[in-house]
């Protein structure tokens, strides 16, 4: 209703006339509105926690040590593997959370930095708990599958190991010769690879014997047969996704390493392997892994 224009009347009288037909809005409306905005704020923080757990899953599942093999450099890998979608989602949820808390009855008293920091810390704590509890993969993959432009990190990482022309293949070890000098891998794209393991050191052979998913750096061979495509392996690394604080357990061993197998692993790799581009970086990874194993 527009203001009464009987300016000769006292303001009190004019206001009382105007409110004579008005009703005070019920208290529950304001209470519900206040809880609604708090609820939306809390929901945004919870969604932020999901984003954090997905970020943690992605960050812990990229093998940064193999950057030079897969992407040429660590910087290139960071650009390729940074969890952009989840970082944007986290920022959006923090902003949404801030705006909703700001709309609560006393929300204006909090600074943007206070609310943002609170929301980020809460999201980080809850997100870390979800990750440590082993829920982050399900979150990353189930939520991440929906947008057409998004591919979950494990699928992305598998695609990096689907590049034989770059000397990278990956997949599941399906069969192993008794002396582990050769083995069969079903690639992530479904192709079958006959892998020559002559150049593999004991550490690589142990990985092959354990079975499960592996990543292989080597040299593709031109000859093919009906039983698959050939690949000369130089390095073999396990591909065991991190689930929370531990790696996913590989299946039971496919083969047992026997010192009496008659086919000893070489002390050093052949010139063919030493010629691959990130050879020294990969050797360093091996050395670091060996040191870590000895410490454990």
């Amino acid at each position: 209703m527009p203001p009464s224009h009987h300016h000769d009347d006292p303001l009190t009288k004019r206001v009382l006339e105007r409110i004579s037909d008005e009703h005070v809005r019920p208290r529950w409306e304001f209470v519900v509105k206040n809880y609604f905005f708090w609820g939306l704020g809390a929901l945004a923080v919870l969604l932020g926690a999901l984003a954090v757990s997905a970020i943690l899953f992605e960050v812990t599942n990229v093998d940064w040590r193999l950057a030079s093999a897969t992407h040429g450099s660590l910087a290139a890998l960071i650009l390729a593997a940074a969890p952009y979608l989840w970082i944007v989602a986290l920022i959006v949820f923090v902003v949404v959370g801030y705006r909703n808390v700001r709309l609560t009855s006393r929300g204006y008293r909090y600074r943007l930095s206070t609310i943002a920091l609170g929301a980020v810390l809460t999201s980080l704590t809850l997100g870390s708990a979800l990750h440590m509890g082993g829920f982050s993969r399900a979150i990353e993959e189930s939520i991440g599958d929906h947008p057409a432009f998004y591919r979950p990190i494990l699928a992305t990482e598998q695609s990096w190991w689907n590049a034989p022309e770059k000397g990278l293949i990956g997949g599941v070890v399906t069969a192993v010769a008794p002396d582990i000098a050769s083995f069969t891998v079903r690639g992530f794209d479904g192709a079958t690879w006959q892998v020559d393991g002559d150049d593999l050191l004991l550490r690589d052979r142990t990985t092959v014997a354990r079975g499960g998913m592996v990543r292989i750096v080597g040299v593709p061979l031109v000859s093919t047969s009906t039983s698959g495509t050939f690949f000369h392996a130089c390095f073999v690394f396990p591909f065991a996704p991190m689930m929370g604080w531990r790696h996913m357990m590989p299946p039971p061993p496919l083969a047992t390493l026997a010192s009496t197998s008659g086919h000893e692993s070489p002390a050093e790799r052949s010139a063919e392997c030493r010629g691959i581009q990130p050879y020294h970086d990969l050797r360093q990874v091996e050395t670091d892994d060996a040191a870590a194993s000895n410490e454990n």
């Binding site: 303001l11 009382l16 105007r18 005070v24 409306e29 304001f30």
Partner: protein
């Protein structure tokens, strides 16, 4: 109509008896009209219309009043929001009239100046100050009016403007800086 009851008590009473609201109107009418004048609502009829709307809104939303706040802060907030809507709707240049000499504000500005001797010899008249106020952005003008003419604390300003207390400090700091910029040249030279 006079009452010794607190604002909160009258608010509670008004929820059952509309007439009690008159006590609150009488208690705040003069203060808020003066506040609107200081904000730059130059025409008395406009000030009364804005205040009328503000009181009606306050009545309708009486259940949203947080008893932990000062009723006066809440009422200033509603009035302030109505005034800002008025300025937006009218797109009118504020006509600031400061009937006081703004001594509190000048003292504050003097305290920040190194040349106190020069300041002591000069007084800024209210017309010049009003002209300078009219040049300010509304948010700065509001901050200065609330602090130095309405004598509101930082916490009350936070509740009125619905911003954190830290933002009130920043607003005041910037408002004073802007005011110094728009004050007549000779006063800046002599005072600050």
């Amino acid at each position: 109509m006079q009452s010794d009851a607190t604002d909160q008590e009258i608010v509670r009473r008004t929820l059952h008896d509309k007439e009690s609201f008159a006590l609150l109107i009488e208690r705040y009418e003069a203060k808020l009209l003066r506040y609107l004048e200081r904000l730059g609502v130059g025409v008395r009829e406009d000030r009364e219309d804005i205040l009328q709307n503000a009181f009606v809104k306050a009545y309708k939303n009486l259940n949203s009043f947080d008893p932990e706040l000062e009723f006066s802060s809440w009422m200033y907030r509603i009035t302030h929001n109505e005034a800002m809507s008025f300025f937006r709707a009218k797109r009118a240049r504020p006509q600031v009239i400061l009937s006081e000499d703004g001594e509190l504000l000048l003292t504050e500005l003097r305290d920040e100046s190194s040349d106190t001797a020069a300041i002591a010899e000069h007084r800024l008249d209210s017309e010049e100050l009003a002209r300078a106020f009219a040049e300010l952005e509304p948010k700065y003008r509001t901050a200065l009016v609330l602090r130095f003419f309405e004598d509101r604390s930082y916490n009350e300003m936070s509740d009125i403007l619905q911003v954190p207390v830290g933002t009130v400090s920043t607003l005041l700091y910037r408002a004073k800086r802007e005011l110094k910029k728009v004050l007549p040249e000779h006063h800046r030279a002599n005072h600050f």
